[in-house]
């Protein structure tokens, strides 16, 4: 059982997954934020590798990504940050990033370096299973989970494909759209989760658009975990002391049980 899978071993415990962009607002901040997330109740942290063309992301993560790149953050630096964080926290760490920087680094050296610094999983939003065979094999060899996504538009064939190929959990994209804070989640979210649930025993974590405790509670009543990203970036921007972030994560933890 991988470290990520262990998070889901207790069915009554809902996973709280947080996303941060590495190097935003600074590298020092990332080294401070991730331990705060872990100590306030996050089960997994996604470390975003900034990319010049983040086409699955909304304005908040685009901005964070752009600023991080301005500061010279590279995949190599992200790996070094992960290495440092591995000594500071015990929870699983996942890299979330677009495919081109991985391709440029070299999928094989990238996966072995990930394993070396203590990365547990990868989420590559522009790499569907049809294109993922190579990276999947390399990741598996290094004991890293390549996590695939499903969307409300995914049909039965795709659900089956992703369920077979994903490792760790399935990332359910709550809405058709990009990442970012939204007033409301779609009405058919529960039926989407149920549709996938009926076809797989893999843990299901829902992300995109979750920003309030009420949304978190609603989603966690059907899913095995929730993923929060843009709202965390906003809280980091609003309050550099991280007190608000700590309170927010604590609140989510309480809401989802």
């Amino acid at each position: 059982m991988s470290r990520i899978e262990q998070v889901f071993a207790d069915k009554n415990h809902k996973a709280l997954i947080a996303y941060v962009t590495v190097g935003y607002p600074s590298l020092a901040a990332t080294l401070e934020i991730v331990p705060v997330l872990a100590s306030s109740g996050c089960d997994i942290v996604e470390l975003g590798i900034p990319f010049s063309d983040p086409l699955a992301d909304g304005p908040t993560i685009q901005r964070a990504s752009y600023e991080a790149l301005q500061q010279g953050v590279t995949p190599e630096i992200c790996l070094e940050v992960a290495r440092k964080l591995r000594h500071l926290v015990n929870i699983p760490l996942i890299f979330m990033g677009y495919y081109n920087p991985v391709l440029r680094y070299g999928p094989e050296p990238f996966c072995s370096k990930c394993a070396e610094v203590g990365i547990d999983g990868l989420i590559i939003p522009d790499l569907p299973p049809e294109e993922g065979a190579e990276l999947e094999g390399l990741a598996q060899r290094q004991g890293i989970d390549l996590i695939y996504l499903l969307a409300p538009t995914s049909d039965d064939i795709r659900i089956k494909l992703v369920a077979e190929r994903t490792r760790g959990f399935i990332y359910l994209v709550s809405i058709t759209g990009t990442t970012g804070v939204r007033g409301a989640l779609p009405e058919d979210l529960e039926s989407f989760v149920a549709k996938v649930r009926a076809r797989t025993r893999r843990p299901l974590c829902v992300g995109f658009g979750i920003s309030t405790p009420a949304q978190a509670r609603r989603v966690s009543s059907v899913a095995d975990g929730i993923i929060v990203g843009s709202r965390i970036i906003e809280l980091i921007e609003e309050d550099g002391t991280l007190a608000n972030l700590r309170a927010f994560i604590g609140r989510l933890r309480k809401e989802i049980g």
Binding site: L55, P101, D126, E130, G177
Partner: protein, 390 residues
């Protein structure tokens, strides 16, 4: 057009192509693939396309022997494929019409598109007016600034032009934003991509719609000159006009194919393999895999990627790719104005310069066909600025 070997079922031209998109779009791409395959098998779809190509776009466009240009150069003969005479002033309308008809078949009445030079945006807005569809065009603010006239044209045609101020604020970023819109509104919207780039089936589909250029040119050469050309020269940004004229000549091995890139956005000439906008192709990027900001005087060539089939043709050696600077393109621009009374767009001005250079070193009996992919009205302000005229 309708029988083809590449791409394969997964959308690959050798190692190039594929579908590197968010999961949300995978079903939409499958739906598009199915709809296009059905349309391909439906004679009435092509009848309507051909009929509108003729009566609406004004096809076939002339194949015009540029006598004075050829004389001035004093080498090979240069013949122009006059896509600048197509309705809306560029080849972009061929693809916009094809995809517009396809979107209508699919029951999608909301169209999003990206545009760089504005030519694809104008073509899309035109087709949407014709087919009574809602049209939203994403355009980088840098391009909005330098292609004002096309912005106004799009608005006149009923399109909404949405400025994009992220990244380099040019074509690449307009595509990012169009994809984000498509991801969000995928159930009701067709993304009318304007070049042979993007995920499968776009590179294949856009090539097929644009290959009318090459089919006509081939027939016109045989009918008028009883021979095929020795060279075909076309400019390459994403590569749709080049792919359109190259494709019907791929099996004519005596015909050399040359793609001309802009010097500071020359993906094929100096790029490295990468993935951008859903496809694996040559890409301008830094050593960390971040996509480079490009610059060209021709907004339509200002793109760090290129169609995957061009990468395939480069690797196989079937086509050759070269790069031309802004100044050289301006030289080509002026040469055509002066010798032929034709004001070309800045994009094909790159090809004009290279065709002239090539012609100079060849004997008089050689023939070069140059794809004059668009007219230059839209560029007058840029050219005036570059020439110091205000």
């Amino acid at each position: 057009m309708r029988d083809r070997e590449l791409p394969d079922e997964q959308g690959y031209f050798g190692p190039w192509g594929g579908k590197f998109v968010p999961e949300t779009l995978m079903s939409a791409l499958a739906e598009l693939e199915r709809a296009y395959a059905e349309a391909c098998a439906d004679a009435s779809f092509w009848q309507e396309f051909d009929s509108l190509c003729h009566h609406y776009i004004g096809r076939p466009t002339p194949l015009y022997f540029a006598r004075r240009l050829s004389e001035r150069i004093g080498g090979a003969q240069i013949i122009l494929k006059r896509e600048d005479l197509a309705h809306t002033g560029a080849h972009k309308i061929n693809n916009a019409l094809g995809q517009g008809l396809l979107a209508r078949r699919m029951g999608k009445r909301r169209i999003v598109a990206e545009t760089g030079a504005g030519q694809h945006g104008v073509a899309t807005a035109t087709v949407c007016a014709l087919l009574e569809m809602e049209c939203i065009v994403y355009m980088g603010v840098e391009d909005i600034h330098r292609q004002q006239m096309n912005v106004f044209r799009m608005k006149l045609l009923g399109a909404e032009v949405r400025p994009v101020s992220s990244g380099s604020r040019t074509l690449k970023d307009a595509i990012n934003e169009a994809i984000r819109d498509w991801v969000t509104n995928v159930r009701t919207t067709h993304y009318l991509l304007g070049s042979v780039v993007g995920p499968h089936p776009y590179p294949m589909m856009v090539r097929d719609f644009q290959s009318i250029i090459g089919r006509e040119a081939r027939e016109q050469m045989l009918a008028t000159y009883q021979r095929l050309p020795d060279y075909i020269v076309a400019c390459v940004g994403g590569g749709s006009n080049a792919m359109g004229i190259f494709y019907p000549f791929l099996n004519d091995h005596g015909v050399k194919l040359i793609g001309v890139e802009a010097y500071h956005s020359a993906s094929l000439t100096v790029g490295e393999p990468g993935v951008l906008h859903g496809t694996r192709s040559y890409l301008l990027q830094d050593k960390h895999g971040q996509v480079s900001s490009t610059h060209s005087i021709a907004p339509g060539l200002d793109y760090p990627g290129v169609g995957p089939e061009h990468s395939y043709l480069k690797d196989s050696g079937r086509a050759e790719y070269v790069a031309v600077t802004d100044d050289q393109a301006l030289e080509g621009f002026q040469m055509l104005c002066e010798t032929e009374g034709i004001i070309p767009a800045l994009e094909p001005s790159h090809a004009i310069y290279y065709a002239a250079l090539l012609a100079k070193g060849l004997p008089r009996e050689k023939v070069i066909v140059m794809n004059l992919s668009g007219r230059g009205d839209k560029d007058l302000e840029i050219v005036a600025g570059a020439m110091g005229v205000r």
